[in-house]
């Protein structure tokens, strides 16, 4: 998992004291009839961010985006863009452009006409329109497709027309709804980097909706994880990955081993959790906020577990089991280990050596152990 690809401590406007957010979503709720599509969401998004809204299908991502674009009015709450309250401002008067999940290209217009459409509405002079359209089409590598109609393009080309059409207006804020949904994996990865490059080059603020966590990880400066209409966590990709604040987030992002247990020792410097599934207790070298006796989950990422044949020195943070499955993935291997309690644990180990004759293999008894800083304690 490439985590925090875009965040190496340089661009963090959300940490700057007194920084004005570009978008402020203030306790926004959207109901369709009795159904809560978006439930009391508050968010601050800063200029030049690439903010990802990540969540499963039907969790309200598109609805939130449509409220930013002005196609839906919030049932309650307020949205500010660049300090202006957006209540009652129609989509065509917002400084926002949107790239639709279905692209929504105009079928009766050529690629050029599609891209030029927004500029015509702004009464940009003809010569400038021609120049900007050409520039934009070259940028998305569709220079020679200008005269085609959308139905004569492939899915990936259509997606780039949609992107060009939204970007040519040089909006301050671009909303993208599953921009890479229709692309195959290879083109997708390629386009992800193109998207990031374009965004940095143009200095536009992007809000991207996706349900693909890998995509969110590689693209974004920050991620807002949504579940059932609510924002459950906001943070940089590495924060979300390393410090999930709930069982939902820990399980949604990447894979994780979840050990249920009870808090038996709760000191400011460390905690100890008794997990029936493990041989020893889980010892965590930082405090948590749950009360003693509470039912909690210790979440341990597969790559943070070490496999060994010898019994580890410490009696904590360890378990014994038998290797049931090995998946070789080139750069690393994933081991499925059945613990003595019957629970399956997932462990990934880097394949450092090319010829490792004494590699741990199928049906071999092994010990699992991990460092006290590795587990994250979350509650339901």
């Amino acid at each position: 998992m490439a985590s925090g690809a875009r965040n190496d401590g340089r661009f963090e406007p959300w940490k700057a004291p007194g920084a004005e957010p570009y978008i402020r979503i203030d306790r926004v709720t959207k109901k369709f009839g009795d159904f809560m599509a978006v439930n009391d969401v508050s968010l601050k998004i800063y200029k030049k961010e690439l903010f990802c809204l990540l969540g499963g299908s039907g969790c309200g991502k598109t609805t939130l985006l449509r409220m930013l674009a002005g196609f839906e009015e919030p049932t309650a709450g307020k949205i500010f863009i660049d300090g202006v309250d957006m209540a009652g401002i129609p989509p065509y008067e917002r400084p926002v452009n949107m790239m639709f999940q279905s692209y929504a290209l105009f079928p009766h217009m050529t690629v050029e006409q599609n891209v030029a459409f927004g500029l015509h509405q702004d009464k940009v002079p003809k010569s400038e329109i021609r120049q900007r359209v050409t520039e934009m089409l070259d940028m998305v590598k569709l220079g020679q497709f200008g005269k085609r109609k959308p139905h004569q393009l492939s899915g990936g080309q259509r997606q780039r027309v949609a992107l060009a059409r939204a970007l040519v207006k040089r909006p301050k804020l671009l909303l993208l709804d599953e921009p890479l949904g229709a692309l195959d994996k290879k083109l997708r990865e390629h386009t992800q980097f193109e998207l990031v490059n374009l965004q940095e080059q143009l200095g536009v603020t992007f809000v991207v909706v996706t349900h693909d966590q890998e995509e969110a990880m590689t693209l974004s400066t920050r991620i807002g994880v949504m579940n059932a209409g609510e924002i459950v966590q906001v943070g940089t990709p590495s924060e979300i990955y390393e410090y999930p604040n709930s069982k939902f987030v820990a399980e949604f992002i990447g894979s994780v081993n979840m050990f249920e247990g009870r808090l038996i020792e709760d000191e400011p410097g460390h905690v100890r959790i008794h997990c029936p599934d493990l041989d020893g207790n889980v010892y965590v070298d930082h405090g948590v906020s749950s009360p003693p006796g509470a039912v909690v989950f210790a979440a341990v990422r597969p790559e943070k577990i070490v496999l060994s044949r010898d019994k580890p020195a410490s009696a904590d943070n360890m378990a014994h089991g038998i290797v049931k499955e090995i998946a070789y993935m080139g750069d690393m291997s994933t081991y499925l280990v059945r613990l003595d309690s019957g629970k399956m644990a997932r462990v990934t180990q880097p394949n450092t050596w090319r010829h490792a004759d004494d590699r741990i293999t199928w049906e071999e008894p092994v010990y699992l152990n991990w460092h006290p800083s590795s587990p994250v304690v979350v509650s339901e």
């Binding site: 674009a69 196609f71 129609p90 989509p91 065509y92 926002v96 452009n97 949107m98 639709f100 279905s102 929504a104 290209l105 105009f106 079928p107 009766h108 459409f117 927004g118 509405q121 702004d122 109609k149 139905h151 059409r165 939204a166 207006k169």
Partner: protein, 336 residues
Amino acid sequence: MTGRAESPTSQRLSTGVQLILRVLHHFAPHRWTHARLLKWGVTGRTLVIAVPYLWLLLFFLVPFIIVLKIAFSETQIAMPPYQPLVHWVGDKAVNLTLNFGNFLFLLEDNLYWKAFLNSLKVAGISTFFCLLIGYPMAYAIARADSTKRNVLLMMVILPFWTSFLLRVYAWIGILKNNGLINNFLLWTGVIDQPIVMLQTDFAIYVGIVYSYLPFMILPLYSNLEKMDLTLLEAAQDLGCGPFKAFMKITLPLSMPGILAGSMLVFIPAVGEFVIPTLLGGPESLMIGKVLWTEFFNNRDWPVASAVAIALLIFLVVPIVYFQRVQARETGGGVHR
């Protein structure tokens, strides 16, 4: 949409159906027939296409040939009132007489030209008004929520359940000098003389627009209803107000519907006979009426047939040409 619970009876029924299906599947009479038909070069596809073709052949082409035949014959006072094209000379020889006189007669007498042009004018203006009234109605129905939509569509189709003739007669009652409108206006005191509406061109327009409106609304509705509404959102997102978005997106995309509706109104309106006869004045000159007069009053079947053939040619040839051009321009239809 939730799956509906099945009652025991329907379950028993469905097991029965399944049994029959299994038997059919085992003995497969369809497969046998299919193989036999394939041997003769008949596939399911040709069969499906053949049925409408057969229908057209029987009920369009055959009558058309009969009319064409009459158009080339000469009148006689007999039954039928025209001479046969083909008659036997002696035992073996056949004599074919083609009479172009009927068509030449149409050119000589400018009554026919005038009637034809006037029909085009009336049909054109009526089509325009049908479009003007029908488009907003079709638009409103297509954008109404789905529960109301069916009711509204029903109301458009409902008049067809009454006889066309009765509906035209009803308009006589509405338009005549002591009819509904005049009586109402006299009663309110807006006028003190009844306005003459019946037996005018105005009445013809009212009648045609009223009668043919559904033929405009239905194709327009089916076009507008199919439209992807996110296109309008995209237009708004790019800076278009709602009206401009309509002009630039909805209107051009509904062009096929406009054309289909206009054809469905224009073509029958050109040959319309009942409405000008009942609602129009005696001097209203329309080709349908001329045809009627030739056929029934003058009993000149050949000339009446020639009028019908000429009408067909003048209408069909430009329309076919027009559709060809259009198909070429759109490159075989708009795909999404």
